[in-house]
């Protein structure tokens, strides 16, 4: 009997994701991977895994896992979720060792949309086209290319991790509603008024938001020369503007090519924050240069590289400070001292 995690309840849109499928976009295969790359990597690093190790991603909570192994070490990150091991409340953004028969219950999202559970040592799975990332539309990766179901058994690749203290991250990255984007590649397909509208008062995430893309609601963006282009490639964060003039941000499971002009590209450092804005939530785009985008990426990289130094011994129960979660500043604006932003606002 191998060591496993049993999915007792999957919650909505639970899939397995690694860093994504690389090298097949030229053949039409979506890159997939986590919606919030920062949280996915943070969860892996908290367990001691290599970044990009396959982990569980879920939306909005409701995931229940049963431990069917002597022990397993799990890390939790992304947004803010209520977490209990059996009936004992645990802080989110933490890494804990769990034992056979224990139930890990993830409640509703208190902030954000996407949560991650990383497993020390990863999972034993077959790869497809070089990746474990699930792409449900083309039925690739994960378990049979589909979302997780109640009854699924996830085999641990490395049973019985060595004993390790339980840890928590006291200062998880805050929510953010100013989203930086580099203009282009087709910003010349829009009028000056269209560009001003796009980088103007802001948008709401509509109900049409999933792993493929987030359709936004707000100011119309005026095209200068039609809204059809001869198709070219897309990246995570490409902002397409179709005929009706409201933007769509392409996300992890996007199509590899698109025929609408792309006004801007959300920078890699801010795509995680955008992914965590729930339908109805507000955001505003800020234009930045390529150089500023690269610098923001370096700041994010440094934050991740130093993550281990920020971890503290786990506090649970009465010690668990509810203000910590509320301090996430849900969709409330840019927080002073945001470690990912310091020195970056032009």
């Amino acid at each position: 009997m191998s060591d496993r995690l049993l999915v007792r309840a999957p919650g909505p849109l639970a899939t397995l994701q690694d860093a994504g499928r690389r090298g097949y976009q030229r053949l039409g295969v979506s890159g997939s991977g986590p919606m919030d790359r920062l949280a996915h990597e943070a969860a892996n690093r908290m367990t001691g895994n290599q970044p990009g190790t396959v982990a569980l991603e879920f939306a909005l909570g409701g995931l229940v896992l049963e431990v069917a192994a002597e022990r397993a070490r799990l890390a939790f990150a992304g947004g803010a979720f209520e977490l209990k091991v059996d009936d004992k409340p645990m802080p989110w953004w933490s890494c804990v060792t769990v034992h056979r028969g224990q139930m890990v219950r993830i409640g509703r999202a208190q902030a954000g949309v996407w949560g991650y559970v990383a497993i020390a040592g990863g999972l034993a799975l077959p790869a497809q086209l070089g990746s474990y990332a699930t792409h449900t539309l083309s039925r690739l990766g994960g378990i049979e290319g589909r979302p997780l179901r109640a009854g699924d058994a996830l085999a641990l690749a490395e049973p019985e991790p060595s004993p390790h203290p339980d840890l928590m991250l006291p200062d998880p990255p805050p929510a953010r509603d100013v989203i930086r984007a580099v203009p282009g590649p087709q910003d010349d397909y829009f009028t000056p008024a269209g560009l001003a509208a796009f980088f103007g008062e802001g948008y709401r995430v509509s109900a049409q938001a999933d792993r493929m893309g987030y359709r936004l609601e707000g100011p119309q963006v005026e095209h200068a020369k039609g809204f059809n282009i001869v198709s070219d490639g897309t990246v995570a964060g490409s902002v397409q503007v179709p005929g009706m003039g409201t933007p769509i941000v392409l996300m992890a499971d996007r199509q590899t090519t698109g025929g609408y002009p792309k006004i801007a590209t959300v920078i890699g450092a801010d795509l995680p924050a955008l992914a965590q804005i729930a339908p109805g939530g507000r955001l505003r785009f800020q234009s930045v240069s390529f150089e500023q985008a690269l610098e923001a990426r370096r700041v994010m990289r440094r934050w991740l590289d130093r993550l281990a130094d920020r971890l503290e011994p786990l506090r649970t129960g009465a010690d668990l400070d509810p203000a910590r979660l509320l301090g996430l500043n849900l969709i409330g604006g840019v927080t002073a001292g945001d470690p990912l932003r310091e020195g970056l606002v032009p």
Partner: protein
């Protein structure tokens, strides 16, 4: 023709990709230059470049900004002779069986009628063409084809279908396509091929590539059923020939 091609432009696509654009139209000469540039950059294996995505008129260059300084890479790309990438690699030629009309091509009659053609004439025009694979995109193995006879140019449907079957052989605007997986589509469905353009369990998983040429061979429903059964067992059904086979 080649002398009048537009100059190359390197465009920003965020902090982890550049677009090298060699034109804005559907043109075999532009697409040839894209495929030649794709081949040159693959050979060059520039540090930090993770993936190249050739399309109709541009090459998307993905890079890992943690592995390479994006400004350095931009400098290196600007130093290349993007407008004279040399010869495009020779494509391969495919003959793809298609069952036209009926349940396999629900829009065939309407398309024929729209253009004042009989169904037989419409099939003859579609199956009589030699098509170029301009790019693979949208879904795994989905082939975008150019070379559709002008008499069949048809604007996209007003209401796209949320589901169209795998193997759909369709037309939209001036383009044609062979689909690979069940997917939404606003194009007109003329027929269906039993060939699976993408099957992750098969070796090779993909059949068509940009630069290949495609011809169609009409088949009846009985042959479709027989071939579909073989395809389900992993038979690719068709083999490529050198591109010169279609040149005649």
């Amino acid at each position: 023709m080649t002398e009048t091609l537009p100059p190359a432009r390197i465009l920003h696509a965020g902090d982890a990709a550049f677009v090298i654009e060699l034109g804005e139209t559907v043109d075999p000469a532009i697409n040839d230059r894209i495929l030649a540039l794709d081949a040159r950059l693959r050979e060059a294996a520039l540090p930090g470049v993770t993936e190249l995505v050739p399309t109709y008129r541009s090459l998307l260059v993905h890079f890992d900004p943690d592995a390479v300084d994006g400004l350095e890479l931009l400098k290196r790309l600007r130093g290349l002779d993007l407008e004279h990438p040399g010869e495009a690699p020779a494509g391969r030629a495919w003959t793809v069986p298609v069952c036209y009309g009926g349940e396999h091509g629900v829009d065939l009659e309407e398309v024929a009628e729209r253009h004042g053609l009989t169904v037989e004439e419409a099939v003859r025009l579609h199956a009589g063409g030699t098509y170029r694979v301009y790019m693979i995109g949208f879904a795994p193995g989905f082939a975008y084809l150019g070379g559709l006879d002008q008499r069949l140019h048809t604007p996209r449907r007003v209401n796209p279908r949320l589901k169209t079957p795998a193997g759909s052989v369709s037309i939209g605007g001036i383009q044609a396509a062979i689909s690979s997986v069940e997917a939404p589509s606003g194009w007109h469905l003329l027929g269906q091929t039993p060939v699976r353009a993408f099957d992750p369990e098969r070796e090779p998983p993909f059949l068509f590539a940009a630069g290949d040429t495609v011809r169609f061979r009409p088949i009846d429903a009985a042959e479709f059923a027989a071939l579909a059964a073989r395809a389900a067992d992993g038979d690719p059904l068709i083999r490529p020939e050198p591109a010169s086979e279609h040149a005649s």
